[in-house]
Protein backbone atom coordinates (compact mmCIF):
# COMPACT_ATOMS: atom_id res chain seq x y z
CA UNK A 1 0.00 0.00 0.00
CA UNK A 2 1.30 3.41 -0.92
CA UNK A 3 1.79 5.99 1.85
CA UNK A 4 -0.64 8.89 2.12
CA UNK A 5 0.41 11.99 0.17
CA UNK A 6 2.47 14.14 2.50
CA UNK A 7 1.12 17.55 3.48
CA UNK A 8 3.30 20.58 2.76
CA UNK A 9 5.07 20.66 6.12
CA UNK A 10 5.95 16.99 5.72
CA UNK A 11 7.58 17.68 2.36
CA UNK A 12 9.80 20.28 3.97
CA UNK A 13 10.56 18.00 6.89
CA UNK A 14 11.47 15.07 4.62
CA UNK A 15 13.79 17.20 2.52
CA UNK A 16 15.38 18.72 5.65
CA UNK A 17 15.96 15.21 7.03
CA UNK A 18 17.52 14.03 3.78
CA UNK A 19 19.84 17.03 3.72
CA UNK A 20 20.84 16.35 7.33
CA UNK A 21 21.56 12.68 6.54
CA UNK A 22 23.66 13.68 3.57
CA UNK A 23 25.67 16.09 5.75
CA UNK A 24 26.29 13.32 8.27
CA UNK A 25 27.43 10.93 5.54
CA UNK A 26 29.77 13.58 4.07
CA UNK A 27 31.36 14.17 7.48
CA UNK A 28 32.11 10.45 7.81
CA UNK A 29 33.34 9.74 4.27
CA UNK A 30 36.87 10.55 3.14
CA UNK A 31 37.52 13.40 0.70
CA UNK A 32 40.67 14.54 -1.09
CA UNK A 33 42.01 16.33 1.99
CA UNK A 34 40.19 15.31 5.15
CA UNK A 35 36.50 14.43 4.99
CA UNK A 36 34.16 14.86 2.04
CA UNK A 37 32.44 17.57 4.10
CA UNK A 38 35.60 19.69 3.76
CA UNK A 39 35.63 19.31 -0.03
CA UNK A 40 34.96 22.71 -1.65
CA UNK A 41 33.05 21.28 -4.63
CA UNK A 42 30.81 19.17 -2.38
CA UNK A 43 30.19 22.13 -0.08
CA UNK A 44 29.20 24.34 -3.00
CA UNK A 45 26.64 21.82 -4.28
CA UNK A 46 25.35 20.98 -0.82
CA UNK A 47 24.89 24.58 0.34
CA UNK A 48 23.16 25.42 -2.96
CA UNK A 49 20.60 22.69 -2.20
CA UNK A 50 20.09 24.06 1.33
CA UNK A 51 19.45 27.55 -0.02
CA UNK A 52 16.96 26.09 -2.49
CA UNK A 53 15.21 24.18 0.27
CA UNK A 54 14.97 27.35 2.39
CA UNK A 55 13.43 29.17 -0.57
CA UNK A 56 10.91 26.37 -1.13
CA UNK A 57 9.93 26.42 2.54
CA UNK A 58 9.08 30.11 2.13
CA UNK A 59 7.38 29.49 -1.21
CA UNK A 60 5.17 26.84 0.46
CA UNK A 61 3.74 29.56 2.72
CA UNK A 62 2.89 31.77 -0.25
CA UNK A 63 1.54 28.82 -2.24
CA UNK A 64 -1.33 28.10 0.13
CA UNK A 65 -4.52 28.69 -1.87
CA UNK A 66 -2.65 29.64 -5.03
CA UNK A 67 -2.69 27.02 -7.80
CA UNK A 68 0.14 28.45 -9.87
CA UNK A 69 2.51 28.80 -6.93
CA UNK A 70 1.56 25.27 -5.80
CA UNK A 71 2.46 23.87 -9.22
CA UNK A 72 5.70 25.85 -9.19
CA UNK A 73 6.43 24.47 -5.72
CA UNK A 74 5.77 20.88 -6.80
CA UNK A 75 7.99 21.31 -9.82
CA UNK A 76 10.82 22.87 -7.82
CA UNK A 77 10.66 20.19 -5.13
CA UNK A 78 10.91 17.55 -7.80
CA UNK A 79 14.02 19.21 -9.20
CA UNK A 80 15.51 19.55 -5.70
CA UNK A 81 14.88 15.86 -4.97
CA UNK A 82 16.62 14.95 -8.22
CA UNK A 83 19.61 17.17 -7.38
CA UNK A 84 19.71 15.73 -3.87
CA UNK A 85 19.72 12.19 -5.27
CA UNK A 86 22.55 13.11 -7.64
CA UNK A 87 24.62 14.54 -4.82
CA UNK A 88 23.93 11.48 -2.65
CA UNK A 89 25.15 9.28 -5.52
CA UNK A 90 28.25 11.45 -5.90
CA UNK A 91 28.96 11.35 -2.17
CA UNK A 92 28.46 7.61 -1.75
CA UNK A 93 30.20 6.45 -4.91
CA UNK A 94 30.08 2.63 -5.17
CA UNK A 95 28.18 2.45 -1.90
CA UNK A 96 25.12 3.98 -3.60
CA UNK A 97 24.76 0.91 -5.83
CA UNK A 98 23.59 -1.99 -3.57
CA UNK A 99 19.80 -2.61 -3.56
CA UNK A 100 19.43 -5.71 -1.35
CA UNK A 101 16.32 -7.24 0.20
CA UNK A 102 15.62 -5.42 3.51
CA UNK A 103 15.56 -8.80 5.29
CA UNK A 104 19.17 -9.33 4.30
CA UNK A 105 20.08 -6.02 5.94
CA UNK A 106 18.12 -6.95 9.08
CA UNK A 107 19.92 -10.27 9.36
CA UNK A 108 23.42 -9.48 8.15
CA UNK A 109 23.85 -5.72 8.76
CA UNK A 110 24.35 -2.82 6.33
CA UNK A 111 26.36 -2.97 3.15
CA UNK A 112 28.93 -0.20 2.99
CA UNK A 113 28.28 3.00 4.91
CA UNK A 114 25.59 2.52 7.57
CA UNK A 115 23.51 5.41 6.18
CA UNK A 116 23.95 4.62 2.47
CA UNK A 117 20.94 2.37 2.01
CA UNK A 118 18.82 4.50 4.29
CA UNK A 119 19.24 7.69 2.27
CA UNK A 120 18.91 6.01 -1.12
CA UNK A 121 15.67 4.29 0.01
CA UNK A 122 14.38 7.52 1.54
CA UNK A 123 14.92 9.35 -1.73
CA UNK A 124 13.01 6.65 -3.62
CA UNK A 125 10.18 6.57 -1.05
CA UNK A 126 9.82 10.33 -1.13
CA UNK A 127 9.20 10.25 -4.85
CA UNK A 128 6.16 7.96 -4.55
CA UNK A 129 3.80 10.24 -2.61
CA UNK A 130 4.88 13.22 -4.70
CA UNK A 131 3.85 11.51 -7.92
CA UNK A 132 0.58 10.28 -6.42
CA UNK A 133 -0.29 13.77 -5.23
CA UNK A 134 0.04 15.10 -8.77
CA UNK A 135 -3.25 13.47 -9.79
CA UNK A 136 -1.65 10.08 -10.35
CA UNK A 137 0.53 11.23 -13.20
CA UNK A 138 3.00 8.39 -13.77
CA UNK A 139 6.19 8.90 -11.86
CA UNK A 140 8.21 9.83 -14.90
CA UNK A 141 10.16 12.77 -13.70
CA UNK A 142 10.50 14.65 -16.99
CA UNK A 143 6.84 14.29 -17.92
CA UNK A 144 5.73 15.47 -14.50
CA UNK A 145 7.83 18.60 -14.70
CA UNK A 146 6.66 19.54 -18.19
CA UNK A 147 3.02 19.11 -17.24
CA UNK A 148 3.41 21.57 -14.35
CA UNK A 149 5.04 24.05 -16.69
CA UNK A 150 2.24 23.76 -19.25
CA UNK A 151 -0.38 24.38 -16.57
CA UNK A 152 1.46 27.47 -15.31
CA UNK A 153 1.91 28.81 -18.85
CA UNK A 154 -1.79 28.43 -19.51
CA UNK A 155 -2.87 30.05 -16.24
CA UNK A 156 -0.30 32.84 -15.84
CA UNK A 157 0.43 33.78 -19.42
CA UNK A 158 -2.91 32.88 -20.98
CA UNK A 159 -1.17 30.83 -23.66
CA UNK A 160 -2.62 27.66 -25.12
Amino acid sequence: MRPEPAPDQSHSQVLDDLLAQLAQIARELPGEDGSLWQDAAFQRRYQTLRVTQLGLTALAVRAEGDDCLSWALSHRRDVLRRDLAELAFTALGYQALPDPDPLLIDNEGPIGHHLALKIMRALADYFEPVSQQAEDIPAVSAGLRQSFKSRIASRVFGTE
Partner: protein, 376 residues
Amino acid sequence: MDFSFTEEQTLLQDSIERFINHDYGFEDRQKRIRQEPGYSAAAWSKFAELGWLGVPFAESDGGFGGSAVDTMIVMEQFGKGLVVEPYLASVVLAGGALKVAGSSAQKEHYLAAIISGTAQAALAFVEPQGRFNLADLTTTARKSADGWVLDGYKAVVLNGPSAEFFIVSARTSGEQRDSDGVSLFIVPAEAAGISRRDYPTVDAFRASEVTFEAVALSADALLGAADKGLPMLEQVIDEGILAVGAEAVGAMEVLYKDTVEYCKTREQFGQPIGKFQVLQHRMVDMFMEHEQAKSLLYMAAMKMDEGYSDEAKKAASALKVQIGKSGRFVGQNAVQLHGGMGMTDELNIGHYFKRLTTIDTLFGNVDFHLKRFGRL
Protein backbone atom coordinates in the same frame (compact mmCIF):
# COMPACT_ATOMS: atom_id res chain seq x y z
CA MET B 1 5.25 32.72 8.97
CA ASP B 2 2.77 35.31 7.77
CA PHE B 3 3.80 37.17 4.63
CA SER B 4 0.77 39.48 4.41
CA PHE B 5 1.25 43.25 4.58
CA THR B 6 -0.40 45.63 7.06
CA GLU B 7 -2.80 48.27 5.77
CA GLU B 8 -0.09 50.95 6.11
CA GLN B 9 2.38 48.81 4.16
CA THR B 10 -0.15 48.25 1.38
CA LEU B 11 -0.73 52.02 1.18
CA LEU B 12 3.02 52.61 0.97
CA GLN B 13 3.33 50.02 -1.79
CA ASP B 14 0.43 51.55 -3.74
CA SER B 15 1.77 55.09 -3.52
CA ILE B 16 5.23 54.12 -4.82
CA GLU B 17 3.71 51.93 -7.52
CA ARG B 18 1.61 54.90 -8.71
CA PHE B 19 4.69 57.12 -8.79
CA ILE B 20 6.67 54.56 -10.80
CA ASN B 21 3.84 53.98 -13.27
CA HIS B 22 2.95 57.64 -13.83
CA ASP B 23 6.07 59.70 -13.14
CA TYR B 24 9.01 57.42 -13.81
CA GLY B 25 8.89 56.31 -17.42
CA PHE B 26 11.87 54.62 -19.03
CA GLU B 27 12.51 57.56 -21.39
CA ASP B 28 12.58 60.02 -18.47
CA ARG B 29 15.04 57.79 -16.67
CA GLN B 30 17.32 57.68 -19.70
CA LYS B 31 17.33 61.50 -19.86
CA ARG B 32 18.19 61.71 -16.17
CA ILE B 33 21.19 59.41 -16.35
CA ARG B 34 22.74 61.40 -19.22
CA GLN B 35 22.69 64.66 -17.21
CA GLU B 36 24.44 65.70 -14.01
CA PRO B 37 24.12 64.60 -11.23
CA GLY B 38 22.81 61.39 -12.87
CA TYR B 39 19.39 61.44 -11.23
CA SER B 40 16.48 63.85 -10.73
CA ALA B 41 16.82 66.33 -7.86
CA ALA B 42 13.08 66.98 -8.18
CA ALA B 43 12.31 63.28 -7.75
CA TRP B 44 14.59 63.20 -4.68
CA SER B 45 12.67 66.13 -3.15
CA LYS B 46 9.44 64.30 -3.83
CA PHE B 47 10.78 61.18 -2.08
CA ALA B 48 11.52 63.38 0.94
CA GLU B 49 8.15 65.10 0.80
CA LEU B 50 6.31 61.77 0.69
CA GLY B 51 8.33 60.46 3.62
CA TRP B 52 10.04 57.67 1.66
CA LEU B 53 13.55 58.79 2.75
CA GLY B 54 12.53 58.07 6.34
CA VAL B 55 11.09 54.61 5.77
CA PRO B 56 13.99 52.56 7.24
CA PHE B 57 14.24 54.69 10.41
CA ALA B 58 12.43 54.64 13.74
CA GLU B 59 9.82 57.27 14.50
CA SER B 60 11.97 58.45 17.41
CA ASP B 61 14.68 59.32 14.86
CA GLY B 62 12.19 61.16 12.65
CA GLY B 63 11.51 58.18 10.42
CA PHE B 64 8.50 56.22 9.21
CA GLY B 65 8.82 53.16 11.44
CA GLY B 66 11.96 51.39 10.54
CA SER B 67 10.96 47.83 9.67
CA ALA B 68 12.90 45.76 7.15
CA VAL B 69 9.61 44.82 5.46
CA ASP B 70 8.88 48.53 4.85
CA THR B 71 12.28 49.06 3.21
CA MET B 72 11.70 45.91 1.17
CA ILE B 73 8.40 47.33 -0.13
CA VAL B 74 10.09 50.57 -1.23
CA MET B 75 13.01 48.82 -2.92
CA GLU B 76 10.86 46.26 -4.74
CA GLN B 77 8.91 49.07 -6.38
CA PHE B 78 12.13 50.99 -7.14
CA GLY B 79 13.43 47.83 -8.78
CA LYS B 80 10.41 47.75 -11.07
CA GLY B 81 11.05 51.35 -12.12
CA LEU B 82 14.84 50.90 -12.34
CA VAL B 83 15.11 53.98 -10.14
CA VAL B 84 18.54 55.65 -10.28
CA GLU B 85 18.08 58.06 -7.38
CA PRO B 86 20.64 57.08 -4.70
CA TYR B 87 18.22 55.55 -2.17
CA LEU B 88 20.38 52.50 -1.52
CA ALA B 89 23.63 54.43 -1.08
CA SER B 90 22.40 57.42 0.87
CA VAL B 91 19.39 56.13 2.83
CA VAL B 92 19.88 52.37 3.29
CA LEU B 93 23.69 52.23 3.62
CA ALA B 94 24.91 55.58 5.01
CA GLY B 95 21.65 56.22 6.84
CA GLY B 96 21.69 52.62 8.00
CA ALA B 97 25.14 53.07 9.57
CA LEU B 98 23.87 56.11 11.48
CA LYS B 99 20.77 54.16 12.53
CA VAL B 100 22.81 51.23 13.84
CA ALA B 101 25.75 53.08 15.41
CA GLY B 102 24.93 56.77 15.71
CA SER B 103 24.65 58.71 18.98
CA SER B 104 21.59 60.88 19.58
CA ALA B 105 23.55 63.97 18.55
CA GLN B 106 24.85 62.31 15.36
CA LYS B 107 21.36 61.14 14.42
CA GLU B 108 19.92 64.57 15.10
CA HIS B 109 22.46 66.22 12.86
CA TYR B 110 23.17 63.75 10.05
CA LEU B 111 20.24 61.35 9.94
CA ALA B 112 17.71 64.16 10.09
CA ALA B 113 19.41 65.74 7.07
CA ILE B 114 19.16 62.48 5.11
CA ILE B 115 15.49 62.01 6.00
CA SER B 116 14.58 65.57 5.05
CA GLY B 117 16.46 65.26 1.76
CA THR B 118 18.73 68.23 2.51
CA ALA B 119 21.89 66.12 2.54
CA GLN B 120 23.10 62.99 0.82
CA ALA B 121 25.71 60.57 2.05
CA ALA B 122 27.76 57.56 0.98
CA LEU B 123 29.20 54.52 2.73
CA ALA B 124 32.90 54.14 1.85
CA PHE B 125 33.75 50.55 2.80
CA VAL B 126 35.29 48.89 -0.30
CA GLU B 127 39.05 48.59 -0.77
CA PRO B 128 40.68 47.13 -3.89
CA GLN B 129 42.58 44.36 -2.06
CA GLY B 130 39.68 43.39 0.22
CA ARG B 131 37.32 41.87 -2.36
CA PHE B 132 34.21 41.15 -0.20
CA ASN B 133 35.99 40.97 3.17
CA LEU B 134 34.72 43.94 5.22
CA ALA B 135 37.59 43.62 7.71
CA ASP B 136 40.39 43.74 5.12
CA LEU B 137 41.39 47.39 5.54
CA THR B 138 44.52 49.38 4.76
CA THR B 139 42.77 52.69 5.45
CA THR B 140 43.84 53.78 8.93
CA ALA B 141 42.68 56.24 11.53
CA ARG B 142 45.13 57.14 14.27
CA LYS B 143 44.41 59.16 17.38
CA SER B 144 45.60 62.75 17.44
CA ALA B 145 45.58 65.33 20.20
CA ASP B 146 42.06 66.51 19.37
CA GLY B 147 40.55 63.64 17.41
CA TRP B 148 41.65 61.34 14.57
CA VAL B 149 43.77 61.44 11.41
CA LEU B 150 42.49 59.41 8.46
CA ASP B 151 44.68 58.01 5.67
CA GLY B 152 43.78 55.58 2.92
CA TYR B 153 41.84 54.81 -0.22
CA LYS B 154 38.24 53.67 -0.85
CA ALA B 155 37.04 52.21 -4.14
CA VAL B 156 33.62 52.28 -5.84
CA VAL B 157 31.99 54.56 -3.30
CA LEU B 158 28.38 54.54 -4.50
CA ASN B 159 26.89 58.05 -4.66
CA GLY B 160 30.35 59.48 -3.92
CA PRO B 161 29.88 62.43 -6.32
CA SER B 162 26.71 63.69 -4.58
CA ALA B 163 27.60 62.91 -0.98
CA GLU B 164 27.93 65.75 1.52
CA PHE B 165 29.53 63.32 3.94
CA PHE B 166 30.97 59.82 3.94
CA ILE B 167 30.74 57.02 6.46
CA VAL B 168 34.25 55.51 6.27
CA SER B 169 35.50 52.21 7.68
CA ALA B 170 39.09 52.37 8.90
CA ARG B 171 41.51 50.33 10.93
CA THR B 172 42.22 51.80 14.34
CA SER B 173 44.17 48.81 15.72
CA GLY B 174 45.28 45.27 14.90
CA GLU B 175 46.39 43.66 11.64
CA GLN B 176 44.99 44.25 8.15
CA ARG B 177 42.31 41.53 8.32
CA ASP B 178 41.55 41.35 12.05
CA SER B 179 37.91 41.40 13.10
CA ASP B 180 38.69 43.69 16.00
CA GLY B 181 40.16 47.09 15.40
CA VAL B 182 37.71 48.33 12.76
CA SER B 183 36.02 51.69 13.39
CA LEU B 184 33.53 53.84 11.50
CA PHE B 185 33.86 57.60 11.00
CA ILE B 186 31.66 60.40 9.70
CA VAL B 187 33.78 62.40 7.27
CA PRO B 188 32.63 65.64 5.58
CA ALA B 189 33.15 65.33 1.82
CA GLU B 190 34.77 68.77 1.65
CA ALA B 191 37.33 68.10 4.41
CA ALA B 192 40.94 69.03 3.60
CA GLY B 193 42.96 66.06 2.34
CA ILE B 194 40.14 64.32 0.42
CA SER B 195 40.37 63.88 -3.34
CA ARG B 196 37.77 62.19 -5.54
CA ARG B 197 37.64 60.66 -8.97
CA ASP B 198 34.00 60.37 -10.13
CA TYR B 199 32.57 58.07 -12.80
CA PRO B 200 29.36 56.33 -13.92
CA THR B 201 28.92 52.61 -13.27
CA VAL B 202 27.75 50.02 -15.84
CA ASP B 203 24.20 50.21 -14.48
CA ALA B 204 24.01 54.02 -14.85
CA PHE B 205 24.61 54.89 -11.19
CA ARG B 206 27.45 57.19 -10.05
CA ALA B 207 30.45 56.28 -7.89
CA SER B 208 33.88 57.60 -6.86
CA GLU B 209 37.37 56.50 -5.95
CA VAL B 210 38.20 58.46 -2.81
CA THR B 211 41.64 59.16 -1.37
CA PHE B 212 42.13 60.36 2.21
CA GLU B 213 45.47 62.02 2.98
CA ALA B 214 46.01 63.09 6.59
CA VAL B 215 42.36 64.09 6.96
CA ALA B 216 41.89 65.64 10.41
CA LEU B 217 38.68 64.58 12.15
CA SER B 218 37.23 65.77 15.43
CA ALA B 219 36.70 63.27 18.24
CA ASP B 220 32.93 63.22 17.65
CA ALA B 221 33.46 61.92 14.09
CA LEU B 222 33.72 58.40 15.53
CA LEU B 223 30.52 56.41 14.88
CA GLY B 224 29.88 53.83 17.59
CA ALA B 225 32.65 52.38 19.74
CA ALA B 226 36.28 52.48 18.58
CA ASP B 227 37.63 49.12 17.32
CA LYS B 228 34.14 47.57 17.42
CA GLY B 229 32.82 48.76 14.06
CA LEU B 230 32.84 45.45 12.17
CA PRO B 231 29.60 43.93 13.57
CA MET B 232 27.83 47.24 12.90
CA LEU B 233 29.16 47.38 9.36
CA GLU B 234 28.12 43.77 8.82
CA GLN B 235 24.56 44.58 9.91
CA VAL B 236 24.40 47.58 7.57
CA ILE B 237 25.61 45.44 4.68
CA ASP B 238 23.05 42.70 5.46
CA GLU B 239 20.31 45.34 5.43
CA GLY B 240 21.77 46.47 2.12
CA ILE B 241 21.50 42.89 0.84
CA LEU B 242 17.84 42.86 1.75
CA ALA B 243 17.34 46.16 -0.09
CA VAL B 244 19.07 45.06 -3.30
CA GLY B 245 17.32 41.69 -3.01
CA ALA B 246 13.98 43.50 -3.09
CA GLU B 247 15.17 45.67 -5.96
CA ALA B 248 16.23 42.57 -7.88
CA VAL B 249 12.88 40.89 -7.30
CA GLY B 250 11.11 43.98 -8.67
CA ALA B 251 13.41 44.04 -11.70
CA MET B 252 12.88 40.31 -12.37
CA GLU B 253 9.11 40.76 -12.32
CA VAL B 254 9.30 43.43 -15.02
CA LEU B 255 11.67 41.29 -17.08
CA TYR B 256 9.50 38.18 -17.14
CA LYS B 257 6.24 40.09 -17.64
CA ASP B 258 7.67 42.23 -20.47
CA THR B 259 9.06 39.08 -22.07
CA VAL B 260 5.66 37.37 -21.95
CA GLU B 261 4.00 40.41 -23.54
CA TYR B 262 6.67 40.58 -26.23
CA CYS B 263 6.28 36.88 -27.06
CA LYS B 264 2.53 37.32 -27.44
CA THR B 265 2.99 39.94 -30.16
CA ARG B 266 6.21 39.00 -31.96
CA GLU B 267 5.29 36.70 -34.86
CA GLN B 268 7.42 34.06 -36.50
CA PHE B 269 6.35 31.23 -38.87
CA GLY B 270 2.89 32.82 -39.08
CA GLN B 271 2.08 32.88 -35.36
CA PRO B 272 3.11 34.63 -32.14
CA ILE B 273 6.29 33.05 -30.77
CA GLY B 274 4.52 32.73 -27.39
CA LYS B 275 2.57 29.82 -28.92
CA PHE B 276 5.69 27.68 -29.02
CA GLN B 277 5.78 25.38 -26.02
CA VAL B 278 9.55 25.47 -25.75
CA LEU B 279 9.40 29.24 -25.24
CA GLN B 280 6.39 29.02 -22.91
CA HIS B 281 8.30 26.64 -20.66
CA ARG B 282 11.31 28.91 -20.64
CA MET B 283 9.08 31.79 -19.51
CA VAL B 284 7.60 29.54 -16.80
CA ASP B 285 11.17 28.92 -15.60
CA MET B 286 11.62 32.70 -15.39
CA PHE B 287 8.35 33.00 -13.45
CA MET B 288 9.41 30.27 -11.01
CA GLU B 289 12.86 31.81 -10.45
CA HIS B 290 11.18 35.12 -9.65
CA GLU B 291 8.69 33.56 -7.23
CA GLN B 292 11.36 31.54 -5.45
CA ALA B 293 13.54 34.65 -5.01
CA LYS B 294 10.53 36.65 -3.82
CA SER B 295 9.70 34.00 -1.22
CA LEU B 296 13.22 34.06 0.19
CA LEU B 297 13.10 37.85 0.21
CA TYR B 298 9.95 37.83 2.36
CA MET B 299 11.48 35.30 4.72
CA ALA B 300 14.74 37.28 5.01
CA ALA B 301 12.85 40.53 5.73
CA MET B 302 10.85 38.84 8.47
CA LYS B 303 13.99 37.34 10.03
CA MET B 304 15.64 40.78 10.00
CA ASP B 305 12.62 42.30 11.74
CA GLU B 306 12.80 39.63 14.44
CA GLY B 307 16.27 40.97 15.36
CA TYR B 308 19.75 40.87 13.88
CA SER B 309 20.77 37.29 14.73
CA ASP B 310 22.68 34.46 13.04
CA GLU B 311 19.34 33.36 11.56
CA ALA B 312 18.91 36.81 9.98
CA LYS B 313 22.49 36.72 8.63
CA LYS B 314 21.91 33.28 7.20
CA ALA B 315 18.68 34.36 5.52
CA ALA B 316 20.46 37.41 4.06
CA SER B 317 23.18 35.21 2.57
CA ALA B 318 20.62 32.73 1.23
CA LEU B 319 18.75 35.62 -0.39
CA LYS B 320 21.95 36.94 -1.97
CA VAL B 321 22.71 33.49 -3.42
CA GLN B 322 19.19 33.15 -4.79
CA ILE B 323 18.95 36.59 -6.38
CA GLY B 324 22.39 36.10 -7.91
CA LYS B 325 21.28 32.87 -9.58
CA SER B 326 17.73 33.91 -10.39
CA GLY B 327 18.73 37.36 -11.61
CA ARG B 328 21.21 35.91 -14.05
CA PHE B 329 18.71 33.32 -15.31
CA VAL B 330 15.83 35.75 -15.73
CA GLY B 331 18.04 38.45 -17.27
CA GLN B 332 19.77 36.15 -19.72
CA ASN B 333 16.52 34.57 -20.87
CA ALA B 334 14.76 37.92 -21.23
CA VAL B 335 17.58 39.02 -23.54
CA GLN B 336 17.51 35.72 -25.44
CA LEU B 337 13.74 35.77 -25.99
CA HIS B 338 13.82 39.38 -27.17
CA GLY B 339 16.61 38.55 -29.61
CA GLY B 340 18.98 41.33 -30.69
CA MET B 341 16.59 44.02 -29.39
CA GLY B 342 17.29 42.83 -25.88
CA MET B 343 20.83 44.15 -26.16
CA THR B 344 19.97 47.63 -27.43
CA ASP B 345 20.14 50.83 -25.40
CA GLU B 346 16.67 51.86 -26.58
CA LEU B 347 14.87 48.93 -24.94
CA ASN B 348 14.62 48.63 -21.15
CA ILE B 349 15.49 44.88 -21.06
CA GLY B 350 19.28 45.26 -21.29
CA HIS B 351 19.25 47.98 -18.61
CA TYR B 352 17.41 45.75 -16.14
CA PHE B 353 19.88 42.97 -16.89
CA LYS B 354 22.82 45.31 -16.23
CA ARG B 355 21.35 46.29 -12.87
CA LEU B 356 20.79 42.64 -11.93
CA THR B 357 24.36 41.83 -12.90
CA THR B 358 25.63 44.66 -10.69
CA ILE B 359 23.44 43.51 -7.80
CA ASP B 360 25.02 40.05 -8.01
CA THR B 361 28.41 41.64 -7.30
CA LEU B 362 27.33 44.14 -4.64
CA PHE B 363 28.07 43.03 -1.05
CA GLY B 364 29.48 39.63 -2.13
CA ASN B 365 28.60 37.37 -5.02
CA VAL B 366 27.01 33.89 -5.08
CA ASP B 367 30.23 32.04 -4.22
CA PHE B 368 31.03 34.33 -1.31
CA HIS B 369 27.56 34.01 0.21
CA LEU B 370 27.34 30.25 -0.32
CA LYS B 371 30.46 29.94 1.85
CA ARG B 372 29.10 32.36 4.44
CA PHE B 373 25.75 30.53 4.50
CA GLY B 374 27.60 27.25 5.11
CA ARG B 375 29.67 28.74 7.93
CA LEU B 376 26.73 30.26 9.84
